[in-house]
């Protein structure tokens, strides 16, 4: 197992290198010049050139790449072109909101979706099944910002129970942290509830006719134990995969929710950096997202062994 983990971790190195090359080239080859953005409306060409020179953007592209790569190997991701802060500082300040939102979303989604999926499978073809699957289709179809604005209207503006927007760090008070996390997490969880419930239903249905389920029932197991101890455990591998991918997607892809609820997370940082052509920040966050994807995939693969003893590494 340890050998497998080590091999997988080593395999991330070429993946990260390819991502680094790709991101670097993609940014340099797409239109947009941070120097022109920094220079502003009153600048002339000479002033833009001066800024380009100071940022090192007039160096040959290969020189720029190798300088950047060498700095990364020394743990230096550079300084943002715009903020007078290092990229590491910027990312560090944005990780908590994104992690909190992602984990809360997944917790809500799993807590709701697993029982719903199992229930839909158990009641296959009944009204309950149709309601759950109907909700699932709706959850996929309604854009996240529509759900967000609707929940804001109801719970913040009409009922005045929760704030419209903002994020409070956990260190500044758990009550406020939770209060501001509820609406965005619920909003974002809708699509994951739909996804996980659907996957759970399908996977559980696949195993419901297996011999070991029949045996469990024949031994007199109560139905709830049959469903959750035997069926769900054996159906877990595809569900874990979906949950794992969901976490990875959430860490990099909650831009809309972060915008609607004003959460200063990595998604907004990425969008702001892209709009401003802040190369060092974009490069670092995309590398980080790639690393998260790779590591979460590894964790998902390792988790399979917990649920299916036949899987060995």
């Amino acid at each position: 197992m340890l050998g497998y983990i080590l091999r997988r971790l080593l395999a991330t190195l070429p993946v990260m290198l390819i991502v680094a090359v790709f991101v670097f080239l993609m940014l340099r080859l797409t239109p947009g010049d941070p120097a022109a953005i920094i220079a502003g409306d009153n600048a002339n060409s000479e002033q833009v050139s001066l800024i380009r020179n100071r940022l090192g953007l007039d160096e040959p592209i290969f020189t720029q790449f190798f300088i950047w790569l060498a700095n990364i190997l020394h743990g230096d991701f550079g300084e943002s072109f715009f903020f007078k802060k290092t990229v590491t500082e910027l990312i560090a300040s944005r990780i908590e909101p994104t992690l909190a939102l992602s984990l809360a979303t997944i917790m809500i989604a799993v807590t709701i979706a697993l029982p719903l999926g199992v229930l839909a499978a158990y009641k296959q073809g009944t009204l309950i099944d149709k309601i759950v699957m109907g909700f699932s289709v709706l959850g996929f179809s309604v854009p996240v910002f529509v759900i967000g604005y609707s929940l804001i209207y109801l719970f913040a503006i009409k009922l005045n129970w929760l704030p419209v927007q903002g994020y409070q760090r956990m260190a500044d008070g758990f009550g406020g942290f939770l209060q501001r996390l509820i609406l965005p997490a619920v909003t974002l969880s809708v699509i994951y509830v739909a996804l996980i419930a659907r996957m759970t239903r399908t996977s559980v249905l696949d195993v419901m006719n297996e011999d070991y389920i029949r045996t469990a029932r024949a031994k007199g197991q109560v139905e709830i134990k049959v469903l959750f101890k035997h069926a769900l455990k054996n159906a877990a591998v595809p569900i874990i995969t979906v949950i794992g991918l969901g976490v990875a997607l959430l860490i990099g892809g909650v831009v809309v929710t972060e915008s609607v609820f004003t959460i200063p997370g990595l998604g907004r940082l990425t969008v702001d950096a892209v709009l401003a052509r802040d190369y060092p920040t974009i490069q670092a966050v995309i590398l980080l997202f790639s690393l998260v994807y790779v590591l979460i995939n590894l964790v998902v693969d390792l988790t399979y062994t917990l649920f299916d003893p036949r899987i060995r590494y």
Binding site: G40, N44, G166, L275
Partner: protein, 523 residues
């Protein structure tokens, strides 16, 4: 029952949060048009950084609400009879936020750093023979020849304001950002609480000595009446409005015009036009390449367009805009429509005649459209439609604003990655006269993007700069406006204002050319 429990929990959290957060201090929470990314107002022209500058720095002179120049940090000033020597004496007891006294040497260093970056500052410095501090309170500026815009330049609002900084800070290379944020203004920046992408925090400067006059525009007594100001960055306009309605913020600097009816419906919210001068839309030409290398073809655009259609497309209701054919903002001292009354009438016959006279050969106009700035994006399709009716061929190319600002630096032909024209807008305070308005700079390669090249225009701008008599300045400004017909560098496409939305418990908002958050109380 469950609902009641949930509500109780929510109320508990809300109460706990309120108790933790306020502790009796008066806080003004505002949502501005952008996130504060850069905090050096000399290094960037970003409007959000200018707003930040007015919070923590002060200026030697400032414009009042009628756009008249008034002394601010300066107590009094003298001019020699030959108008070559200006002596500015600082007010007593001015202090930096770190407690050190403000000295003339600090101001000299500040003017020099700003003068190295800002176009108007560069112009002023090109007339300066010596800038010195003969004592702690006197700044002496000796000119090579009389310059008519000394006070206007030192009081300039808008992009790149001459803010005063301590000498050690002002001696930072103008091409690099400062790293210390010490001013002498009415608020103190809390760098430790600044979270880019989230919020910026300012505390009342208890040692600030406001002028005795009442506050007017950016001049007069800047009295901070709240203990703390929080700039909360809310990227989504609808969320800004929701937060205002819910009382989570007190003021929105720039709610989009299409959301104003929603805001106005709420009985706890009011609208206020803080900057009556507003902004002017403009189309900028690239004169290096066909078809706009020919001034007559550029003038044909003025006949093809009309301001009403363009303003309707981006602002909507006439309540917030004014058709203004003056080169210099309507409502400003140099306002005049001389020479332009017959333009912007969508007189397609006249436009077609001009095109024929100029020998327009059907070369497509590459018109750049920015798609991500609400107040600009609809201008381009309307412009295209009107120009096509006059006989132009228009190639509308959509892109985000950042791509546009990059592409506009390219001098390549339009069909090889360059461009012919783009649409933008200017704060009216940035175009108050021929020297300030950088689109009128026609010094060829040294001009801003579009690179107009016209010796006559430059001669007039220089004459304006040297003239010290306001009546003669006005006459020169009119001559510039007339010259624009012969040699259009750009065209003015109407003026609009941006109301602020605020909760009714906020009082004391000031009409000013830039955002002024002093004088405001939260009841």
């Amino acid at each position: 029952m469950a609902s009641r429990s949930l509500k109780t929990i929510a109320l508990f959290f809300a109460a706990a949060l309120t108790l933790c957060g306020t502790a009796g201090a008066k806080t003004l929470r505002v949502s501005l048009h952008s996130d504060l990314k850069i905090v050096d107002p000399i290094w960037t022209t970003a409007l959000i950084t200018v707003n930040h500058g007015y919070m923590i720095y002060d200026t030697l002179f400032a414009l009042d609400e009628k756009l008249a120049v008034k002394p601010q940090m300066v107590d009094h000033y003298e001019t020699s009879a030959d108008k070559l020597t200006w002596t500015f004496t600082l007010r007593d007891s001015l202090e930096w936020h770190d407690g050190a006294p403000v000295t003339a040497e600090d101001c000299v260093a500040s003017i020099k750093r700003w003068g190295a970056r800002d176009a108007m500052g560069q112009k002023l410095m090109s007339y300066v023979a010596e800038l010195a501090a003969p004592d702690d309170k006197a700044i002496r500026m000796t000119l090579k020849e009389p310059y008519g815009l000394v006070l206007q330049t030192l009081a300039k609002p808008g992009a790149s304001v001459p803010f005063m900084m301590p000498k050690r800070v002002a001696e930072t290379d103008p091409q690099k950002q400062i790293t210390e944020y010490v001013g002498s203004g009415p608020f103190i920046f809390r760098a430790d609480e600044w979270r880019p992408g989230e919020k910026a925090v300012y505390l009342k400067n208890p040692k600030y000595k406001p002028r005795s006059e009442s506050a007017s525009g950016l001049a007069g007594g800047k009295v901070a009446k709240v203990d703390r100001v929080e700039w909360i960055w809310i990227a989504d306009a609808q969320t800004q409005v929701n937060a205002l309605i819910n009382g989570e913020i007190d003021l929105i600097e720039a709610p989009p015009h299409d959301l104003l009816p929603l805001v106005a419906e709420d009985k706890n919210i009011e609208l206020f036009v803080f900057n009556p001068a507003g902004r002017q839309n403009a189309i900028r030409f690239n004169v290096l390449h066909k078809p706009f290398d020919n001034p007559k073809i550029r003038l044909a655009v003025a006949y093809a367009l009309n301001q009403k259609d363009l303003l309707d497309a981006v602002i909507g209701t006439p309540k917030w805009y004014v058709e203004c054919k003056s080169l210099f903002p309507c409502g400003s001292p140099l306002e005049s429509t001389k020479g332009w009354d017959d333009k912007f009438t969508s007189d397609f016959a006249k436009a077609r005649a001009l095109l024929q006279e100029a020998g327009y050969d059907g070369t497509p106009v590459v018109l750049m459209q920015s798609t991500d700035i609400v107040s600009l994006s609809n201008l381009a399709p309307v412009t295209k439609s009107l120009m096509e009716k006059a006989g132009f061929k228009v190639d509308l190319q959509a892109m985000d604003w950042q791509t546009l600002v990059t592409r506009r630096t390219k001098k390549d032909p339009p069909n090889a990655g360059g461009w012919s024209a783009f649409l933008t807008s200017w704060a009216s305070v940035d175009i108050l006269d021929p020297v300030a308005a950088s689109f009128l700079n026609a010094s060829c390669d040294k001009a801003t993007f579009g690179w107009p090249c016209d010796a006559e225009m430059e001669k007039l701008r220089d004459a304006f700069a040297k003239e010290t008599d306001p009546a003669k300045q006005k006459a020169i400004a009119e001559a510039v406006q007339m010259r624009l017909i012969e040699y259009p560098t750009h065209l003015m496409l109407g003026q609009y204002v941006q109301p602020q939305a605020f909760r009714k418990n906020v009082v004391g908002l000031l009409a000013a050319p830039s955002l002024a958050l002093w004088n405001i109380e939260v009841k």
